[in-house]
Amino acid sequence: MFKNLLTSVAIAAGLATSLTTFALAESHTMAIDKPECIAPAQPGGGFDITCRVAQAGLSSMTSRPMQVTFMPGGIGAVAINLFNTTRTDDPNAIVAFSSGSLLNMATGKYGQFGEKDVKFVATAGADFGAVVVNADSEYKTLDDLMTALEADLGSIAIGAGGGVGSQDWMKGALMVKSRNLDPKAMRYVAFDGGGEAIASLLGGSIQAYMGDVGELVSYVGGDKLRILAVMSPERLEAPFDQVPTTKELGYEGAEWVILRGFYMGKNVSDEAYNAWADAFKAAYETEEFANIQKEKGLLPLNMAGEEFQKDVLLRVEHMRDVAKEAGLIE
């Protein structure tokens, strides 16, 4: 009943992409008959792209092309409710999620449903936080900015694409916390998405922007913005190879990974869960998958199966700790 008008045309899209995709060895027999990826948002957003990675990346391993179904509503809450009420054991469907979804689970935004109510199966890739200023800014390095913040935390307007307590806010909170400053005292300006925040940074309404690496690709090498640091554990590949990481600049704990991946219903059989996890693991080995990730603006962060499930639970725990420290939840 949740089938979208778009699903039928998404099949066409799947067919088209599968024609162009690298064919894998036949040895991976799959238990997935009617693969479906649920993007809990409208077409064109990050979840759409997450599903397209699965659609294109697994196309050679599923018996028929993967459908992409859009299920917007309640920032993903509608989808998680469905997978906890009627489709808890659906062996064919995976649901796209991001770190933002995990944060919502950690802070109880999805009501009664949390991270223990789904099974995390695999990643699509990752993105990382970045600290950005205007190209004319007086802050030439991250140290300049952080020193100014230490001198007077309230003097600098820091913007990001989400409200207080969102994953975008978390990036700023982690930065100021790494210098033992109080995130609640930050002069934080919430925007509706990164686009408006970048516009305000360009126009000088805010002095610093906590962005994502993926959305900054078109600004690297340009004369509009300066990326002071990326919040990844290690240096990124070109075109970001000249940008230092927060870690190497000595800001401990100021790392922010935006994970993109998939979960399934909690009562899904081990067989179906493993079939999906194995399919992803096999796909991670191919060059084709790496290219798809790159095309969709994601950086490699490949994990599937039980290992991934454990990793996600740790992440959610960590987010909950930070949220508690920041006074977002009791």
Binding site: L5, G74, A77, A190, S200, Y219
Partner: protein, 503 residues
């Protein structure tokens, strides 16, 4: 400037390739038909066809030209259901109903459709020309428009709306207030606190614009029609063969020019789109031109103003999207998503890295605007005949289409219940002699007003004087004051001239 012309030449070379030319024409035509369906506007049109365009395996520039054609087509087509049926397809077309539908009811459907086609063409072309000549310059101005300036713009918009339904200011204000209240539902964008969601997860993200428009406007209109039919008071509309005349054009020319300018400048601001533009254009035009109180009863200028403005805004919204990668409206956000799906990153580097796409898209806008005028004028008579479909067939058909339209965008059955509930609510409001346009504008403007006010105060650390520091905002406050004071001036004259309800 040389760069612009060589770029345009390159763009036309792409856009005029037979295959791409075919796509822009096909897109415009399909878009017009999709937009003409009640309840389906540019956002759903593009969203529905995005996966198809993606799946056809065209080169990115061709697929984007097709999508852009559908976008302009749907923007044009949206007026058809607004004028003929009083059911707008999206928030930008709401103002079109105010004078467009009364014209159709007066037996001038053909004239209304052709006037709006010409106004749209002028507004759209004006925007494209300005965009190609001054795109980067305009976008560097647009980004300096700070949150506190948006607050001033919203104050101006509210002030010009007070003129909207001058007959009963109290009900207009109450209507706007209902809109503001509806806008506050959902997770607060600033603090992440849930407001008025009552634990319903489907309300977390707030109520979609489309749901409000279709519910309050479309469904309420349908219930009203059914009621009239049951009561036997429904008048059959005669087929009319009216068409735009040179006199109309002369009569509306200043309106169209003013509204194109207003629409374009509101369109290029990253935070505001066609809905704000058409509302402000209509409101200011009513202030400037409506000396006899004919606005709202089928005045061609009341139709030309929002039509020129919303098409100019649709073009203007492309400026920040193409030059900065920042979408200025819901539809450009989807087009932006489409660019990303095709691995094209919009932004300052797109014009140097992928000029064939950037300039091809711009050139296709020239072609598309012209194509739409050529496609649309001959079809006016055909569309006008839509009114001859007996109501007992037309009403359920509109209802079904509206449901499909909403579901295709939101894909959430909860919102179908919402449009029914809002429809009944809207029907009650109409019974109580409320005009629904202020409700919708309160909803559209209220969200923007709140977000930007809180952003401005976050930036200043709670100091309200930030609202009056920039020249842009001071100018807007002065304009708002003029707009409020003027009616007191003309008040007596206006009251004598007003006759008939404005719904």
């Amino acid at each position: 400037m040389d760069l612009v012309f060589s770029g345009l030449a390159q763009g036309f070379a792409v856009a005029l390739q037979p295959f791409n030319l075919f796509l822009v024409l096909a897109g415009c035509f399909a878009g017009t038909l999709i937009g003409a369906l009640p309840g389906i506007g540019p956002i759903n049109g593009v969203a529905i066809l995005l996966p198809i365009a993606y799946g056809l395996g065209f080169p990115p520039e061709s697929a984007l030209i097709l999508l852009a054609g559908i976008y302009y087509g749907a923007e044009y087509g949206g007026r058809i259901s607004s004028i003929l049926l009083n059911v707008p397809g999206d928030a930008g077309a709401v103002m079109t109903t105010l004078d467009g539908n009364p014209m159709a009811k007066n037996g001038e459907a053909g004239r209304a459709l052709s006037i709006s086609a010409v106004a749209s063409f002028i507004g759209g072309t004006f925007a494209v020309v300005l965009m190609s000549l001054f795109g980067p310059l305009l976008s560097s101005y647009a980004v300096t428009f700070s949150p506190s300036d948006y607050v001033a713009l919203m104050v101006f918009a509210f002030a010009s709306l007070a003129s909207l339904v001058g007959k009963n200011p109290v009900k207009t204000l109450l209507g706007a207030l209902i809109g503001l209240m509806l806008a506050s539902i959902g997770i607060d964008a600033n603090t992440g606190v849930m407001r008025f969601t009552f634990g319903v997860p489907d309300l977390l993200a707030g109520i979609d614009f489309l749901v409000i428009v279709i519910g309050l406007f479309g469904m309420a209109e349908l219930i009203h029609l059914v009621e009239q039919q049951a009561a036997g008071t429904l008048k059959a509309l005669k087929v009319d063969k009216t068409f735009i005349s040179m006199k109309d054009l002369a009569f509306c020319k200043w309106t169209i020019i003013r509204s194109s300018i207003i629409g374009f400048f509101i369109g290029i601001l990253p935070g505001t789109g066609a809905s704000v533009a058409s509302a402000v254009a209509y409101g200011s035009e009513k202030r400037i031109s409506d000396t006899e109180g004919t606005f709202g009863t089928g005045d061609p200028r009341g139709l030309a103003a929002p039509e020129a403005a919303n098409n100019a805004a649709a073009g203007g919204a492309m400026v920040p999207m193409l030059t900065l990668g920042i979408p200025g409206s819901g539809t450009t956000a989807i087009l932006l998503g489409a660019l990303l799906l095709f691995n094209v990153t919009p932004g300052p580097l797109m014009f140097t890295q992928r000029p064939e796409i950037a300039w091809g898209l711009i050139a296709s806008m020239y072609v598309g605007n012209l194509a739409l005028l050529i496609i649309n004028l001959p079809l006016v008579g055909l569309f006008a005949r839509m009114l001859t479909i007996p109501q007992q067939y037309l009403t359920p058909l509109i209802a079904v289409l509206a449901f499909i339209g909403v579901y295709s965008v939101v894909s959430n059955p909860h919102d179908l219940y919402m449009i029914i509930g809002l429809g009944v609510f809207g029907w009650f409001l109409r019974k109580l002699q409320f005009s629904l346009a202020p409700v919708i504008l309160g909803f559209v403007l209220g969200g923007l007003f709140e977000d930007n006010l809180r952003r401005a105060l976050s930036i200043s650390g709670g100091d309200w004087s930030i609202l009056f520091t920039s020249i842009d905002s001071v100018v807007l406050y002065i304009l708002a004051a003029i707009v409020v004071i003027l009616p007191v001036w003309f008040g007596i004259r206006r009251r004598r001239a007003v006759k008939g309800a404005t719904t």
